[in-house]
Amino acid sequence: MERIALLSPVCSPRLQNYPLYIRSVPTENELKFHYTVHTSLDVVDEKISAMGKALVDQRELYLGLLYPTEDYKVYGYVTNSKVKFVMVVDSSNTALRDNEIRSMFRKLHNSYTDIMCNPFYNPGDCIHSRAFDNMVTSMMMQYVK
């Protein structure tokens, strides 16, 4: 089981960090998952602000493991355009090592980039895209155990 969330850029004026896209498999107790993603932003924000202060030379877009909970692992990724990707995976899912996660984020990012390039997409709107859905679905299927 794993879940993927894509969060709006911080720089969006008033409402920050509102979800652009959330998807989870399986869909039961999705709400819990929403909370998990939402709370994980604490860590993301922290990391970002740390970069701002150049405390850490975090030059990579992939933020790595944000924090582990009993049953999930939460990973984060922030694009240069400050769009945040959060991925929650079942901690029991051993198939997913750092590299897999990383490459999944890359996939997400690429696909997101395409969306940004879709002239009919209005940046900041929630994402309703067949292409994106399919990509996410296939990606999840690939790893769902």
Partner: protein, 1117 residues
């Protein structure tokens, strides 16, 4: 801590002993050795020691660890027993005492039969002992005593109770500590020694037990490193045990213990990561060890406990200076503990829902004869039974039942909430606002389950805004749903309504049917009925709440709720928009209120009203309608007071601005939409300012950026997104309907009374009352212009500096429609330069707006820039009587003052008069009259005057002599007679006056004729008070022959004049140089001929010979 017992101390009756004891107990700080002391009577019975079995062959352990064991070694079995005994070296009855002491020791030894506990003797003495070796008796008696008690010398101590008691005590206990150490050491050895008798098959339990004991003793021995090592092995051994439903609990319990020990030690050793790693391992290993399904809640409870315990350890460590981080802090463990607590609760609810008839079995299977278990983690009803198959299923059932019933009495929610709040406290520290809110939501929900709705709401309310402001609608919705339930169950009207409003709103992610349900309820509430209960609420709670609602209903009326919707996302959206950024006071102010409902069913409202920063207007902006309960939900009738979902409804308001608001902003301070009615219940949705809510600004922004095409709408409809809030407008004064014209003839001339003719004509339909004229220098220009500019309406007399620069509010009466009035404004500018002049006409007029009469103040202003120039430039020069330019004049010798008036004005000037006012030092040769009187000068023309003056000699002419003033009185030729004459005064320059010794002047005809004699007479006048010798000579010239003294020296008396006559005879015609006269004053060598030339002519015109006729005429001339 090492356990040491002290005997032979009488704390009650013996002060000395008391003091000793206190010295032991008092302030045991870290610097003191870790010993726990206990005073026991000398004949105290210590726990019996079982006879050591020589072989484990047939020994089958009944459990891992006895429940008593740890306590035994902490508090019962000492490492050392100290016997206190009062005895001085010089004791008289030494023998007796010695043997008594020996017996005491013996008694102790007896009761410690079989244990390795050490025994020590402390002699309490009155005297301070001499330094060792000096006291011979002491040493031998000491030896004797050791013999008697069969003690090693190391175990005998002397305690003189003198002043340095504490010092002695500390030395003592250090000694004790060493003994204890050795004791525990030997204990460890002993336990270890058992190991080799054990075999893997039957004695696994013992492996764990021994390992544990070793670790435990090491701990008592303060050897934490080994303790840790051994606990670790013990831990691994526990998990090697074959786990089965029956011993699962035991294993977990032990694992729990050991894990706790390990983690604590790790934190102690400041290796938190090891602690965490161990804990994770522990959890991973035990997570799945659930044990019997019927008691699943037990496992959850256990898990929760594990996490909580670790959380506590972690927190403890932090208090001791460990630093935690955002992603690794106790919070997570408390949170997890809470999580398991919740799970426990759920399981309990599932497994322990026996109906009330089921009672606690008797006899209570949880009872044991000893009242306690003898092994940790075993079931009370089958202690020590190791076989995995359940010997007595019946008993088993009862046992389980008992436990289940017991679980029922647990207050889960309390546990959960405490854990959660612990977590919250932690996350607050480690800046995790969202995590914090999340936990608070959980707490809220837990309170909800615990039926403490007030607390629940308090928490939920508190966090709602976080989720709202971050736009997490799903989460917000779920929170709202819970909140709604609470408010329902408490029959909290206002909250109930508020939450409904938002749950119906566009931010809510509820399904249509749910929304519809909520809306129906809301309407019921508005109609003063009780709403239907929220789904899946606790039945009993619903019962109570229904009563509450009923009561609410009964006390109808006085049920008006104002709800500030600004800060959330209500189901009605509102935007206020003025039609223009500014309105003239005499046109009605218009604005629209746009409303849009996002709820599933149409909603009626009873009233819509708008408030302004000027309340006056409020009453004009109200929409109201008699409110029939009946058609509240009726789809068909969509009258003005009904909002149809998704449709934008527009209300246009018109009001007439107050005249006093001219120049002010009229702001919409709030919009109120009233649902329900005063009679029943009513809710006032209140938007601060021009509407908008928590989500609207973001939406507006997105809409602005969007490239989406907006489908064409019928003209009367608009796109909600395309509407922008415009909540304030400016009231500006009525457009004046008069004309103001200015006539004048620029430029202005310095100091003249410049005439500016102002013509005001009214084009108003009605009479313009109280017309006022303001005219003059426009304010806000160079300050000193104000000094030099003066304005008046009277052109008749010259205005002086007392006059103002600006004439304010000159009343000029009323103006009939079409009437025209004219005023002359006279401006006197004292200096040249450009000035801006303002002419401002204000008046009052009645206007009718929306058949309402108002008096408007209108005004029109004209500004005009006027250049001020000098009317003319006056040039003054001094010339000799021969019109030669003079840079100085000579005393007593007449000269000419010439004035030149050049008109610089573009308009003709009439010079009324001119006047020369001479200073005292000047005398006019002939009387002065003006030559330019009434002369009119056109532009560029100039008028000149000439005055003949003489200046008497002056003593010192440094800086020259004042000449006087030249005054020109003038006015524009165009100006009316009434207009005063301007006098321009020109101060004449000073002249340098020089006196000369001799003044010469010649008189001779104006011309000569060839070959006709030409008589010339020179007058030489001695200006000095001395006799002067004068040499006069005349050089010949080719043009003349002459007769007369060619060269002479003569003497002239002071003041007198000498005359010399010459007769010149011109030889050639033309302008000829006269034979030059040269004079030489012996007294005044400075008197030169150049100077002379000033006074006498050098040339003369000589006519050719002419006919006789002419001569006559010439003679006549």
């Amino acid at each position: 801590m090492a356990f040491v017992t002290l005997t032979g101390l009488d704390l009650i009756y013996n002060a000395v002993h008391r003091a000793v004891w206190d010295a032991f107990c008092a302030n045991r700080r870290a610097d003191r050795v870790p010993i726990s002391f206990k005073v026991l009577p000398g004949d105290h019975e210590y726990p019996k020691c079982r006879t050591k079995r020589t072989s484990y062959e047939w020994y089958i352990p009944k459990g891992i660890l006895k429940t008593g064991w740890m306590n035994k070694h902490l508090n019962l079995v000492p490492a050392l027993v100290v016997v206190f005994y009062e005895l001085d070296w010089d004791e008289t009855q030494w023998k007796e005492k010695q043997s008594e002491c020996a017996t005491r020791v013996e008694i102790v030894r007896q009761s410690l039969q079989g244990r390795n506990t050490k025994v020590a003797v402390v002699l309490i003495q009155k005297k301070t002992p001499l330094p060792p070796g000096e006291d011979v008796i002491a040493s031998e008696r000491a030896a004797a005593l050791c013999n008697a008690c069969d003690l090693s010398g190391k175990s005998l101590f002397v305690l003189p109770h003198t002043d340095h008691l504490v010092g002695y005590i500390i030395r003592l206990e250090n000694a004790f500590y060493e003994h204890a150490q050795t004791y525990y050491y030997t204990e460890i050895r002993r336990v270890k020694s058992h190991k080799e008798f054990l075999n893997k098959t039957t004695h696994q339990l013992l492996f764990v037990r021994h390992q544990f004991k070793i670790a435990f003793f090491s701990e008592l021995k303060q050897d934490t490193q080994n303790a840790l090592k051994n606990y670790r092995t013990a831990y691994n051994l526990v998990h090697e045990l074959r786990a089965h439903e029956t011993n699962m609990l035991e294993i977990k319990t032990m694992a729990g213990f050991i894990n706790y020990k390990i983690c604590r030690l790790c934190f102690q050793h400041n290796t938190p990561l090891d602690a965490i790693a161990q804990f994770r391992k522990h959890i991973d290993l035990c997570k799945k060890k659930i044990g019997s399904a019927e008691l699943a809640f037990e496992h959850a409870a256990w898990m929760s406990k594990q996490f909580q315990a670790f959380g506590d350890l972690f927190d403890e460590a932090i208090k001791l200076g460990l630093t935690a981080i955002q992603t690794q802090n106790p919070g997570f463990y408390y949170q997890q503990a809470a999580h398991y607590a919740q799970e426990r609760k759920q399981l309990a609810n599932m497994l322990c829902n026996h109906d009330s008839s089921v009672t606690h079995p008797i006899p209570d299977p949880l009872e044991t004869q000893s009242g306690v278990l003898d092994f940790y983690g075993q079931r009370s009803w089958r202690q020590g039974i190791l076989s995995f198959d359940l010997s007595d299923p019946e008993k088993e059932k009862l046992g389980i039942l008992a436990l289940q019933l017991k679980e029922r009495s647990v207050l889960h929610s309390e546990l959960i909430i405490t854990l959660l709040s612990n977590a919250v406290a932690q996350f607050k520290k480690y800046k995790c606002p969202r995590m914090k809110s999340h936990l608070m939501v959980q707490m809220g929900e837990e309170y909800y389950y615990a039926k403490d709705y007030t607390k629940a709401l308090k928490l939920l309310d508190y966090v709602m805004c976080e989720y709202r402001s971050e736009g997490w609608w799903t989460l917000l919705t779920s929170i709202l749903t819970t909140a709604l339930k609470c408010s329902y169950l408490m029959a909290q009207l206002k909250d109930y309504i508020t939450y409904s409003l938002e749950l119906l709103g566009r931010a809510s992610t509820l399904k249509e049917d749910q929304k519809s349900r909520i809306e129906k309820n809301l309407i019921k509430v508005l109609m003063n009925e009780s709403p239907d209960p929220e789904p899946d609420c606790d039945a009993s709670a619903v019962k109570t709440s229904q009563k509450l609602w009923a009561d609410r209903v009964s006390l109808a009326g006085s049920n008006i709720f104002t709800i500030e919707v600004q800060d959330f996302v209500p189901f009605v959206q509102c935007k206020a928009k003025y039609l223009a950024p500014s309105f003239h006071v005499d046109v009605p102010v218009q604005f629209d209120i746009y409303l849009k409902a996002d709820c599933p069913h149409p909603v009626r409202f009873s009233k819509l009203c708008v408030s302004f920063n000027n309340q006056e207007y409020n009453q004009h902006c109200v929409v109201e309608e008699a409110y029939q309960k009946s058609d509240i939900l009726e789809q068909s009738s969509q009258g003005t007071m009904c909002l149809v979902p998704g449709k934008t409804r527009k209300f246009t308001f018109i009001f007439v601005a107050k005249t006093e608001d001219v120049g002010k902003k009229v702001e919409i301070t709030s919009v109120d939409l009233i649902l329900g009615s005063e009679t029943g219940r009513c809710v006032i949705l209140n938007w601060r300012g021009g509407g908008g809510d928590a989500a609207s600004s973001q939406e507006a922004l997105q809409a602005a950026r969007s490239f989406k095409r907006r489908p064409k709408l019928p003209d009367n409809e608009v796109h909600w997104d395309s509407l922008t809030i415009q909540a304030s407008t400016m009231i500006i004064s009525r457009v004046p309907n008069i004309s103001v014209q200015l006539r004048h003839e620029p430029p202005a001339l310095t100091n003249e009374m410049y005439c500016l003719i102002v013509t005001v004509q009214s084009h108003e339909k009605t009479i313009a009352k109280d017309v006022k004229l303001t005219a003059g220098l426009k304010p806000g220009q160079d300050a000193n212009l104000t000094q030099k500019t003066h304005v008046t309406l009277q052109g008749t007399e010259m205005c002086d500096d007392s006059y103002p620069a600006l004439l304010p509010d000159i009343p000029v009466g009323d103006l009939q429609p079409g009437e025209k009035l004219e005023r002359e404004v006279y401006i006197r500018c004292g200096t040249v330069g450009t000035r801006m002049f303002l002419v401002y006409v204000s008046y009052l007029i009645n206007a009718v707006v929306e058949e309402k009469e108002i008096i408007c103040k209108c005004h029109r202003d004209e500004t005009v820039t006027i250049e001020t120039v000098f009317p003319f430039d006056v040039a003054v020069k001094y010339v000799s009587t021969k019109f030669e330019h003079l840079d100085r004049v000579f005393a007593d010798i007449p000269f000419l003052l010439m004035t030149d008036i050049l008109s610089a004005s573009p308009w003709p000037l009439s010079i009324v008069n001119s006047q020369l006012q001479l200073s005292a030092s000047m005398i006019s040769v002939d009387q002065l009259e003006s030559y330019v009187e009434n002369v009119v000068l056109q532009t560029g023309e100039s008028a000149s005057e000439c005055f003949c003056l003489r200046c008497p000699p002056v003593t010192d002419s440094q800086g020259g002599v004042a000449t006087g003033r030249y005054i020109i009185s003038w006015k524009r030729s165009s100006a009316a007679d009434s207009v005063p004459v301007v006098s321009t005064v020109i101060t004449l320059p000073h002249v340098i006056v020089e006196s000369i010794p001799l003044h010469v002047n010649a008189d001779l005809p104006s011309f000569g004729r060839v070959r006709e004699s030409l008589p010339i007479r020179y007058h030489l006048q001695n200006k000095t008070s001395l006799v002067q010798d004068v040499e006069v000579s005349v050089e010949p010239s080719d043009a003349f022959m002459f007769s007369g003294l060619k060269q002479i020296r003569l003497r002239i008396l002071p003041g007198t004049r000498q005359e010399m006559l010459y007769n010149f005879y011109p030889l050639m015609a033309g302008y000829q140089q006269l034979p030059s006269l040269s004079i030489n004053l012996l007294r005044f060598p400075s008197f030169t001929n150049q100077l002379l030339r000033r006074f006498i002519p050098t040339h003369i015109f000589v006519k050719p010979q002419g006919r006789q006729g002419d001569d006559a005429s010439i003679a006549a001339a």
